[in-house]
Amino acid sequence: MKMTSKKKKSLLRYSLGDSVFLAIVYLLLLFSFLIILYPILYVISASFSDPNAVAGGEMILWPINPSLQAYEYILHYGDIWTGYANTIFYTVAGTLLNLLFTLPCAYMLSRRDVVGRGIIMTLFVITMYFGGGLIPTYLNLNELGMINTRWSLLLPGVVSAYNLIVARTFFVNTIPWELQEAAFLDGCSDFRMFTKIILPLSSPIIVVMTLYYGVGHWNAYFNAMIYIRDRELYPLQVFLREILTMGQFASDAMQNGGDLSPEEMLALAKQTETANMIKYAVIVVSTAPMLIVYPFLQKYFAKGVMIGSVKG
């Protein structure tokens, strides 16, 4: 009897400790939640708000004097729409090519009856750790005549070794080998097997690959910046770079602009304010598609990371 009462007591003590611990856990998570979410909400609100209020620090969370002024301005800003159309093209065409190159090869590498798949796998894995580097890669594209063409953003990197491994692991682990053997006995060819049996069973990995490659294309700027010279071919991110990070010079000029007349300073200040308001709206316009789509695909990409983490 004494024992049980003692045990009860200790359980009670622990559960009190647990409640305190749980409270701390929730507090920490609430804190991180706010830190993650606030900048995003701030950008959205600022894009609708009166630029003076944003610049003056009056806007904390909700827009002040909400208006669509910034968005109206963007509507007439040709560069953004050129960039938008190009980015959609690069994302759709690029991702399609990625899938067309990656999935069949991943399937081949998943087949245990193929001679030499180890060598081919090694060929791809090496590229994860070692490459030619910036200049040899650039010169290579130059030799191929791809500089300043859309191909330069579609073909290099058409197969990512990491994604290839993820897809291969999926094929190995989720499609029963017995099923494939049965199909062979019925005289199914490898092509038919892939298109008629494997692909219909592989929608999760197709979604994961589309997401990984698609986000990569949508957000990429560096290759376009070094390979593309023609503004007509620029993707959205390169225009964003000009607007968001190079516009810095305007505010630099403001601070160093000692020899400007008060009127000029005022005009410049007005310009900077408008520029900042537009910046927030541009961020919203360019990022919204990604942020709207990903929550619906959430369960798939957790799966993708999980497959990828299984040592292949």
Binding site: F33, L37, I135, N276
Partner: protein, 309 residues
């Protein structure tokens, strides 16, 4: 099984021929990787030459290690090496543990709805592009209008010109990286935590283990192999700091602490057209990475049995 027995009896050539459709399926990917990944590797030889575009790879004169000597004795070399190491080690120290802690904390939430909401929000920054992230950083850290400085002033501090002060650069770089990557980085640990044996947790509860003890003695050990593999991978990246982001956050005022090896490679190569020198700097960078990766992998295998290969 009948199938594989049959193929074992055939000669190698027959087996290759029998699977020709599969080889054909992998051909586009193999050709792509040969042209776009392996062919440039051959171009690395220009690091040992004085490369001229009009002479080409073959006829450009050999110069031995001249480009490397120039690199090691250049004014910028100690600076970019120090900056690269500072940024990557600081990112590792601050950025590596946070996703692990986040995953362990979120794992304590039993309410599925709250859990999912938190996860969804924490993934959001991952989907924001580098350009937009840097744009946000520049807007937020603006000395006169940025929200971060408004906050500092509201708390009684003085506004800091984060983008203009070289000492501030590493914090801007690392903390914005944590904001963007921590939630997404936790995904892999969530996945690993789903492998925790529930009966073990129940048994621990019966024995009177507190939540804290369960985390330390049951949940955390499950994560250790994943943590080691991630750590080895991160170490392999030690000298490849994200040049895309650094390049965007760089300006003439913070260059002393924001110029890193890869941005230097970019400028020497594609702005100054010093192809051979830039290639040598890039080769130095990737050789260091490979050596560190192999060493980290060996150390990990010795200490914990988890390794990449």
């Amino acid at each position: 099984m009948i199938f594989s027995k049959k193929s074992n009896k055939r000669s190698l050539m027959m087996r290759l021929l029998a699977r020709w459709q599969l080889y054909l399926m992998s051909l586009p990917a193999i050709i792509a990787v040969l042209i776009f990944s392996y062919k440039p590797m051959y171009g690395i030889i220009i690091a040992f030459k004085d490369f001229r575009l009009n002479l080409g790879y073959f006829d450009s004169p050999w110069v031995g290690f001249e480009n490397f000597k120039r690199l090691f004795s250049s004014y910028w070399f100690p600076i970019i090496l120090k900056n690269t190491l500072t940024l990557s080690i600081l990112s590792l120290i601050i950025g590596f543990p946070i996703p692990i802690i986040l995953a362990l904390l979120v794992n304590e939430i039993k309410n599925e709805k709250i859990k999912r909401t938190f996860q969804t929000v924490s993934y959001a920054p991952h989907f924001i592009s580098t350009v937009v992230l840097c744009g946000m950083v520049i807007l937020f850290t603006n000395p006169s209008q940025g929200i971060i400085n408004k906050l500092i002033e509201a708390l009684g501090g003085e506004a800091i010109a984060f983008m203009q002060e070289p000492e501030m650069f590493k914090w801007v770089y690392v903390l914005s990286g944590v904001w963007q990557g921590a939630g997404w980085g936790a995904v892999i640990y969530f996945a690993a935590l789903s492998g925790v044996d529930q009966s073990l947790l129940d048994a621990a509860s019966v024995d009177g283990a507190s939540r804290m003890q369960k985390i330390i003695y049951i949940n955390f050990p499950v994560l250790v192999p994943t943590i080691m593999v991630m750590l080895v991978l991160q170490c392999g990246q030690l000298l490849s700091v994200g040049y895309e982001k650094t390049l965007l956050l760089q300006n003439s005022l913070n260059l002393q602490s924001s110029e890193i090896i890869s941005t230097y490679v970019y400028k020497m190569g594609l702005v100054n057209y010093d192809y051979s020198f830039s290639t040598a700097a890039g080769l130095f960078n990737s050789l260091c990475n490979t050596i560190i990766l192999v060493a980290a992998n060996m150390a990990s295998r010795k200490m914990t049995d988890s390794s990449l290969w």
